[in-house]
């Protein structure tokens, strides 16, 4: 009797371990479609290309079925991709670079947002009646941002540096707030200026605020890259899925740039908010990752000793999975099938 109990226990444990292991790493196919696990966006009010691509059927056209696994907080995206909980991660390029420097085996394959004058990546604001007028007025002031490091912290430092203030780190007093609460902290006197990822138009609409600078003022268009990445393991095992995913996203980028209002509506419908509250970024045409946008952050992170020296942009991203830009003929379907069977 006792022996049976033990056997049953061992069998149950083994089954549990096998199930969890296979669930997270097994390649899944849903009928004819390849499943790609995607995180739901952390900030629901900004247009998410996953939702747009899904809604318009761009994923389906490439034989991909997206599976949304829920919201993953930005700091945990790299770990989630490494652990196989999601297949694709995003967020600002500097997080990807920092993750790779720390040993994460991931690679960025397709570009997402980029900065424009009208739609910068980050906006730094103060109260309309604030005494802050010039860059040097910022020294010693309290900055409300949602996290240390990354674009939140280094954008103001670089702004100060560009205006002649050497060694800006330590010259600002940083107050971290929950995401979305930076302006609240500013209004309640908890900070003197705040850094937010918002559309300048929405900032003006909030009222009572003055924009000090945006990341466009510092670096033009190259500071706001948010490329998507897969784990090296996924890329090695399923390069064709990666290729098709990149193609779908590149197509989505171009569509969103051409139809921003409709993109906002799709997002609003998906997350059930008023379309007027949704904003849309500018997306990199054809999803081609720009070398300067990655090199910029490698240099910045190196300057602040946040990453190991010697990281090259080739370690961080590749455009090899990007098919021909839209307009040219699609890749021959026969060839693609051959490639797929060859890799099995």
């Amino acid at each position: 009797m006792k022996r049976h109990y033990l056997l049953v226990l061992v069998a149950v444990l083994a089954a549990a371990l096998w199930a969890t292991a296979s669930y997270s790493s097994q390649s899944r196919q849903d009928g004819q479609l390849d499943v790609v696990k995607l995180p739901d966006p952390f900030i629901p009010n900004t247009v998410c290309s996953y939702y747009v691509a899904d809604e318009l059927g761009f994923f389906r056209d490439e034989g991909i079925k997206p599976e949304f696994v829920g919201v993953v907080p930005t700091p945990q995206l790299v770990a989630a991709v490494m652990a196989g909980k999601v297949d694709v991660g995003g967020a600002h390029a500097n997080r990807t670079i920092a993750g790779i420097s720390a040993g994460a085996k991931i690679k960025a394959v397709v570009a997402q947002t980029e900065t424009t004058r009208e739609q910068p990546h980050m906006v730094f604001v103060t109260l309309a009646n604030s005494a802050i007028k010039e860059p040097k007025d910022l020294l010693g002031k309290r900055l409300a941002i949602m996290a240390f490091g990354g674009c939140n912290e280094y954008t103001p430092y670089e702004y100060l540096r560009k205006h002649g203030i050497a060694n800006p780190k330590g010259k600002l007093s940083i107050v971290t707030t929950p995401p979305g609460k930076e302006i609240d902290a500013l209004r309640r006197g908890g900070a003197d200026f705040a850094g937010v990822h918002m559309d300048p138009k929405d900032v003006q609409r909030l009222g009572g605020l003055r924009i000090l600078f945006t990341d466009y003022d510092i670096w033009g268009t190259i500071g706001g890259a948010t490329p998507l990445y897969f784990s090296d393991k996924f890329i090695k095992e399923k390069p064709d899925v990666v290729r098709r995913f990149v193609k779908a996203i590149a197509r989505t980028n171009n569509w969103i740039n051409a139809n921003p209002k409709r993109a906002e509506q799709i997002q609003a419908k998906r997350v059930k908010v008023d379309p007027a509250l949704v904003n849309v970024n500018h997306f990199t045409p054809n999803g081609i990752i720009k070398e300067e946008s990655v090199q910029l952050w490698v240099d910045i992170l190196n300057d602040y000793h946040e990453i190991k020296p010697g990281i090259k942009t080739a370690d961080v991203y590749t455009n090899a999975f990007n098919a021909q830009p839209e307009g040219k003929k699609k890749a021959k379907p026969g060839k693609a099938k051959l490639k797929a069977t060859a890799s099995l």
């Binding site: 700091p75 652990a83 994460a104 990354g150 971290t176 309640r188 908890g190």
Partner: protein, 261 residues
Amino acid sequence: MFYRLWLGRLGSFAQKTAAIAAFLLVWELLPRLGLIDPFLLPAFSTVLKALWRLSLSGEIVGHLLSSFRRSAAGFSIAIGVGIPLGVLMGWFKRFEKVVDPLLQVFRNTSILALFPVFILIFGLGELSKVAIIFWGTVWPTLLNTIAGVKNTDPLLIKSARSMGVTQLTLFRRVIVPAALPSILTGIRLSAANAVLILVAAEMLGANSGLGFMIFYSEQAYAIPEMYAGIVSISFLGCMVNWFLVVLERRVTGWKEQVHGG
């Protein structure tokens, strides 16, 4: 014979540390054998190295002091309020009847759910962190004090009363000493809570402290440092608990001796 005593002590020590040693061994081996990616779980030795580096540079001492200051402040206010209020509530039945339902509501509302309220009222500075720790730690002390007072042996009270003592003397000499074991248990639970809540309280608006260090390291992908912070908090919690157990034993032991004598 002495040798056998020494061997016995060693055996008992081995027994006590066996489970922890096994756990640390698994922690060391899983990433080394590639069963878990070392990016997600660095080997224990890597974490120890990070901890050593942080200690040498003094960085972790600063965080430890910050955390300790905050939790000590919240905790002292909690027992400063919890014990007197508990004694009053335990003794004056009518007072308790009126106040208790409200306190039950407060106590059963998860502290994490109340975070936004604390931030709205106290902002993001030190005060809100101390307030959060106070809120989370006052309940065990308060409730255990009430229970301790209520469970005072009625015989003791009656015999004291029969000797004609004043109310104040009754409190000082009979009720509080009788409730002391309960109160001390409450204090110990509160202290454990303080360390737990500390981490949550330091997630927001902090720029020092062990909880802050953990989340900062996570964001910077300094994973060994993150685990070093976690190990430190675990160590801090154990030390606080051990200290209070020793204190409890001393104070209660003394009390028992008096009774026997």
